[in-house]
Symmetry: C2
Subunit: 506 residues, 2 copies
């Protein structure tokens, strides 16, 4: 047996992102990743030295080119190995998820196999790590770019797949078409980085290739809502479990964000491990409480009801002398949110439950959330989910995924969203309509468009300028936010590193 296992290789003071090539229980050789990503969520150049040597393993007639993750995204390494005789490219990856990346990745791998006329096995890790989620979905492609194997998304699998290969025939393929392009690296030319191929023979009997290959084994593509739901469930389960928590607690407001967070938490951990806390104030209408209780009942989860009027009053009385002569304002709204945050943190401290925050990407973008209030907690399940997609997910859960037993009371979906921190408040008192807001956030944050570009593309000027200013000003809040699962191409977190002190006027 030959096994490729990722590890950190040390040489003197340098470390390398490496693959150990293990043959029959012994280390044969190592391969060092050549292309180190240093953009988006990646920081590899901070820590790792780049490798310089492509590697071909020679197993009797078969030649296998080795690569790690980014090596296959950048023109160069794969082409180099294929032109020097590799029939089969192996790639081990920890490629993080964001929506639609699946299509992009499959298209890229298809092209690599086809253009280089090689078999290609791509093996991606599965599971959550702080804000990143690795989505699995490993592949095998044949030299025409056809997928022979497409693994499940968001699930570990052990798969054996028989190939019928004729290495001699493959060897004769014309690979001169595949040109090594310089500059595939995002900031520096890649071509100067590797110098000499290593060919390492593997002392094993020649592999037996059956006449008949395994039938293609192709897991289906997922709808957008299905994919994001599974991502959120796995990301939540892994953050909670890997950090050794058993149970989670969250505030149930009767609004759609906390309802969706509860559904995801219950799907991830089971209803017995999710505790909902209702913390009504005098500004919460009775429908909110009814809906929150109905949701909890449908999900089979335990609730506590802890009305906050008494501590709100105690705090307001306490502050009355200092606030003498001042009008009520956002201060009193934040007090309510912070008392709720304090209650959840007290339950967390007393019982060892992890607090899930429930706010979404649209709110994080414009700072429509209270620091140490609804932002208090250890993990933000919906942190990178735009509000419009929160609605899409809620509808899909009720109408498709759990249509036999819709978990979210319809009124939660239908009522206009409100923080309920003062009488008759709705989100749209302070924010543009969410469909417009989310378009601007996508254009500005995820696609890096400037103000002038957005206006030229037809977005309303006043709203664009208002939202961009809100996004820039909210950086100080985001810096103190809990981590949450990356869902979009650019999340708030490691992916977007902005200063707080900043007078740039876009």
């Amino acid at each position: 047996m030959i096994a490729l296992v990722g590890f950190v290789e040390r040489e003197g003071n340098a470390i390398f992102n490496a693959a150990a090539i293990c043959v029959n229980g012994r280390l044969l050789t190592t391969y060092r990743k050549i292309c180190l990503p240093n953009y988006g969520v990646f920081d590899e150049k901070r820590y790792f030295h780049p490798g310089h040597q492509p590697l071909i393993l020679k197993l009797a007639d078969l030649r296998m080119g080795v690569s790690i993750c980014e090596d296959i995204w950048v023109d160069g390494v794969i082409e180099y190995e294929a032109q020097r005789g590799a029939d089969f490219i192996l790639n081990i990856s920890a490629s993080p998820y964001h929506w639609k990346k699946g299509d992009e990745r499959e298209f890229l791998l298809t092209s690599r196999a086809q253009n280089n006329r090689v078999y290609l096995a791509y093996v991606n890790t599965v599971g959550g790590q702080d804000e990143l989620l690795f989505d699995g979905r490993s592949f095998i492609f044949d030299p025409t770019g056809q997928p022979l194997l497409r693994g499940e998304k968001f699930a570990e699998q052990f798969i054996i797949h028989d190939l019928a290969i004729d290495p001699t025939r493959l060897r004769n393929a014309d690979r001169s078409q595949s040109v090594i392009t310089v500059g595939g690296d995002k900031t520096e030319g890649a071509a100067t980085k590797y110098f000499a191929l290593r060919e390492v023979p593997v002392a094993l009997p020649a592999p037996i290739f059956p006449q008949q290959a395994s039938a293609p084994n192709l897991a289906p593509h997922l709808d957008d809502e299905d994919e994001v739901f599974r991502a959120l469930v796995l990301g939540t389960r892994d953050y909670v479990g890997k950090n050794r928590f058993a149970k989670v607690v969250l505030g149930l407001s009767g609004g759609i964000d906390s309802a969706l967070t509860a559904v995801i938490a219950v799907a991830a951990l089971g209803p017995e491990n999710v505790i909902g806390v209702l913390m009504p104030s005098r500004f919460n209408i009775s429908a909110s409480t009814e809906d929150a209780l109905a949701l909890a009942q449908r999900l089979g989860m335990q609730t506590h009801t802890i009305p906050i009027n008494a501590p709100v009053e105690a705090m307001e009385n306490l502050l009355a002398p200092a606030f003498a002569g001042r009008e009520r304002d956002i201060t009193e709204e934040n007090l309510q949110a912070r008392i709720r945050g304090m209650i959840l943190m007290a339950l967390s401290n007393k019982f060892g439950w992890l607090v899930l925050t429930t706010s979404n990407k649209s709110e994080a973008a414009v700072g429509y959330a209270t620091l140490y209030g609804d932002m208090a907690g250890g993990f933000g399940v919906l942190k990178d989910v735009p509000k419009t997609f929160v609605y899409r997910l809620a509808n899909w859960l009720n109408q498709v995924h759990f249509k036999e037993k819709p978990p979210i009371p319809q009124r939660i979906i239908d009522r206009p969203p409100s923080a309920e921190l003062r009488a008759d408040q709705t989100d749209q008192d302070s924010l543009p309509p969410y469909d417009l807001l989310d378009q601007i956030i996508e254009a500005f944050v995820e696609e890096n468009h400037g103000v002038e570009e957005m206006i030229a593309a037809g977005l309303p000027e006043a709203t664009v300028r208002q939202v961009v200013k809100m996004i820039d000003r909210a950086e100080y809040k985001r810096r103190q936010a809990a981590p949450g699962i990356k869902i979009t191409p650019r999340n708030f977190g490691k992916d977007r590193r902005m200063p707080i002190t900043n007078r740039f006027q876009p």
Copy 2:
């Protein structure tokens, strides 16, 4: 006049960290930074493309080599320019401060001037930007490595210095000794990155070099405490001012951290712009309140006293049903801290004051602070100052810097440190002695030593293992902490990027 001005140069989709060389009000040419730092607090490779061309400006007989910041820290660019005739190296920098870096920087620049037999002018920016502080202290060195000019630290200055240069004599210096070393870049060889010198004539009359140069103008070196105090004052003033706050508010506990923070804030902003809030509970001894009031009086700052017994009781009553049958524990301690945080945030919301947090690096390291409690606030003045240095600073302020009118009541310095969240509590109930703790933090966090190395160096094994575990476990708290001024060679922040989900056992 020739002026060098840093700016971002764009070419297609690539951007460069660049210097504009402006002559008599017009742009002559640009220089693109060759060496891009991507370690520590730096992320330049994420954003910038590297330049490839050293630049020499020819002004009649004089040849001036241009460089930007990191270009002078790495072997290569300066040597290349000197070997090709530069008499004078110009370097514009934004080099962030940490303690003792000043000596390191002066030694480096001395060596560069001396080894390359060139005049060297090093111009560093001044001011705070989030967690970074740029400390100024620009230099001119002569070709023997003697400093002709050493500017002030932490202060902007406009300095004119006359040099008596004989370019012909300089030109004949033997510079073949200065070898270009490959691999100065922290992860990749630097030598492959630049290819061809550019020489650009400057159409100005030949400069007049006086027979007599200006006398050396050398600002003095600072004592450690003096340097750190000035750094904290400037960093605080700039964060507050650049983010358009006029006043700050902080909790005054009667302990040394809040006392030192208050002294720094008053030095930075004036006593009229610093509001202290005393928030005694039943666990605060009367000495704490007396000392806090005495401190405020000495500093001439306004105070509010808001006892927290009533809201603590309201919260405990509220939670009593949920906590039935459970012992008092850290939950009740955190409640007190969070009510204090909520009070400070309410004052911030109502009056537009920035909340300063008062906790120090030792506490941040081991998580000896309450999330949303004493960690609540916008800026952490002492965030990167170890507790033992907090004492050194307090003593120096009282005994040296303000010895005529010591600002900190001696009892604040003398009493054993305590969070006063339960009866008779002291920090040393939960933590090793601070001198030992700080040694371990320095070795582990700043110097990257492993557990075995620390034990081998004589640190007590049980304490080392306990502290390292505490540091790793507190990552989730630090992720939600306010920014604060980098003082040590490695701060918690951009400088140390660790995962929360982490089962590595060091």
